[in-house]
């Protein structure tokens, strides 16, 4: 049982005109097995929240705390956060030229498990994970995200989620750019990871469509750098019908 606790998180980015505050005090608690959907208008700071938890160097933490089972996450390096059990499926996964998916995954799993996986079982694990996400085996030999289509990049992120087995996963718009079949396949992948490892999931999305596959326990409305309303799944339907006007003008 794990708990990721975000309290009063304030984050700024450096711009030509000085620091600009993006997150203005975010409170959120995610426990193992829970699924939280975060919905909010473009530019409201959802990715900033995700990146800040993962430790992207661009974001300056100016206030608040993030702890995983009571341990300060903000003090950790990026790789230490992953080792502690955090995972971020990125909205824009990064291309790493010349590094094959298979080499990348083996290096990552070795780092996370503290020892190299047994070659034979590992090859099988990767093959199964790829098959389950309808990815051609040739992806293992390709360079990380290089030349992947938008949807392929997202599948690759969820494949990593299944293989790396984190405690808490933040999925930043994993559903954007997926066709209907891919959306179902990717959602099944997330649900499998939830069931087998009882992970806590934060699902950042613009669409209620994915929430029909991955049932959220909580829906949070994110606007202007903070959470402005919280509710159950019914809140997502209300957002779909009414949009964010009432939160943005507020």
């Amino acid at each position: 049982m794990s708990t990721l606790e975000i309290r009063g998180l304030k984050v700024s980015v450096d711009t030509e005109n000085g620091a600009v505050e993006i997150l203005k005090g975010v409170d959120l608690t995610i426990k193992s097995g829970e699924t939280h959907a975060i919905m909010g208008p473009n530019g409201s700071g959802k990715s900033t929240l995700a990146y800040s938890i993962a430790g992207h160097p661009k974001y300056n933490i100016t206030g608040g705390t993030v702890t995983l089972d009571g341990v300060d996450v903000l003090e950790m390096t990026v790789d230490e956060r992953a080792k502690a059990g955090l995972f971020l499926a990125m909205q824009y996964p990064v291309e790493v030229p010349g590094v094959s998916v298979s080499n990348f995954l083996r290096t990552a799993v070795t780092a996370l498990r503290g020892e190299a996986p047994k070659l034979r079982t590992w090859v099988g694990e990767v093959k199964d994970a790829m098959e389950a996400l309808n990815m051609d085996p040739s992806f293992a030999q390709r360079n990380v995200n290089e030349g992947f289509s938008g949807g392929e990049k997202k599948r690759h992120e969820i494949m990593q989620l299944e293989l790396l087995k984190p405690k808490i996963a933040i999925l930043d718009e994993t559903d954007s750019g997926l066709d209907v079949d891919a959306l179902r396949i990717v959602s099944e992948g997330v649900n499998r990871a939830k069931e087998t490892n009882n992970i806590g999931v934060v699902l950042i999305t613009h669409y209620t469509r994915i929430l029909r596959y991955i049932q959220p326990d909580f829906v949070h409305v994110f606007a202007n750098g903070k959470i402005v309303e919280e509710g159950g799944p019914e809140l997502a339907d209300k957002l779909e019908a009414n949009g964010y006007a009432e939160y943005v003008s507020a």
Binding site: V78, V94, F104, A111, N143, V144
Partner: protein
């Protein structure tokens, strides 16, 4: 042992071709003050395949195939009494790579070596030259790739720390022939190489690949010249370098000359440098001279940058620590070129050396 006394052609450092090179560190190979060693360090490893001959000829029996205004080449031609000549006879396909090794010499004297590689028409071969140990070497390699022939030349500078190596690899590429060169420079104190190509017949093509990695105090210079003097020839140049540590210095010069007669030329050259720490310097100068507009394409690009933070973040977000993430990115950066060698064992060895250099540099 003899001493070269003539003072002709001695570069001063003000010449365009020498403006980056630390002349003082050349061990006197450029100004004639070096003591001429009479060693022949180049040996053929393994058995000779059918259709392949390798012999030492006297200089008078193996006149130069090409002109050069390089001062060191001039001195080599004056000093060398013999020429190592490799010939691959017409229509021969050599399945396994032909491997040459250069044995270490010494750094009190300099070897002035001439080599000729003659790939006759429609022959096909891969030649790998492995340079290791500590030596002073001035080297003039002339290559002729006959009509329809295909040569891959891999030249590996895995030198020891005190080696000074000034070399020219000049390829004359005839009609419909293809010359592919892969130059890897990861060892030595000073390495200055001139991979140059002269197209001798239409339909010829060349691919010049290179990788260099300089750490503290090392100076590596690669100075290409591709002479498009016939129609419909194609050239590609892709050199990638990384630098780490104080006073690491690399120079890449890419001169491409498209003469008036060279209609239908297709050329592109690329140089990318990765600066892994402060205090290192990468000079990169692409240069295209065009005398005809009737060409397929001509372009070049040169970039020098640092680690991509987004790549490092992505890898680290999967649990990979900073030094392993950097190692992966550097390996990935070089992999595009190293994998062109097509020899697994050598590729692994080179990547391991690159890892070691990176670890030593602490970048």
């Amino acid at each position: 042992m003899t001493t070269l006394t003539t003072n002709y052609l001695t570069p001063t450092g003000r010449e365009e071709a020498w403006r980056f090179t630390p002349l003082k560190r050349l061990g006197g190979m450029h100004d004639g003050s070096a003591i001429v060693a009479d060693r022949h360090s180049l040996t053929l490893a393994g058995a000779k395949a059918t259709g392949v001959s390798f012999e030492l000829k006297s200089s008078s029996d193996a006149p130069a195939l090409s002109e050069s205004d390089d001062a060191i080449v001039g001195r080599i031609r004056e000093a060398a009494r013999d020429v190592a000549v490799l010939t691959i006879s017409a229509n021969t396909e050599v399945a396994e790579p032909i491997i040459f090794k250069r044995a270490p010499g010494d750094v009190q004297s300099a070897e002035f070596a001439r080599v000729q590689i003659n790939v006759e028409s429609h022959a096909r071969a891969t030649i790998i030259v492995e340079n290791t140990g500590d030596t002073h070497l001035a080297e003039d390699v002339e290559i002729y790739v006959g009509p329809g022939a295909n040569l891959t030349l891999v030249s590996l500078q895995e030198w020891g720390a005190s080696t000074v190596h000034a070399g020219r690899q000049h390829a004359i590429v005839d009609r419909d022939a293809n010359f592919k060169s892969i130059v890897v420079t990861i060892g030595g104190s000073l390495v200055r190489l001139l991979p140059t190509v002269e197209f001798a017949g239409p339909g010829a093509s060349c691919e010049l690949f290179g990788v260099y990695f300089a750490t503290s105090g090392q100076f590596f210079e690669h100075r290409m010249f591709v002479d498009h003097k016939v129609p419909n020839a194609k050239s590609r140049v892709n050199y990638k370098g990384a630098l780490a540590g104080d006073q690491a210095h690399t120079v890449w010069i890419g001169d491409v000359f498209i003469r008036a007669a060279a209609e239908g030329t297709d050329t592109y050259e690329l140089n990318r440098n990765l600066l892994l720490s402060d205090g290192a310097r990468a000079d990169s100068v692409p240069n295209l001279e065009i005398e005809t507009g009737e060409i397929v394409g001509a372009g070049h690009a040169s970039t020098t940058g640092r680690f991509d933070d987004e790549q490092l973040f992505y890898l680290m977000s999967r649990g990979i620590n900073l030094s392993d993430a950097r190692r992966l990115v550097v390996r990935g950066f070089f992999n595009e070129i190293i994998s062109e060698i097509g020899h697994e064992e050598i590729q692994v060895r080179l990547m391991d050396r690159i890892d070691n250099e990176l670890a030593k540099a602490g970048a």
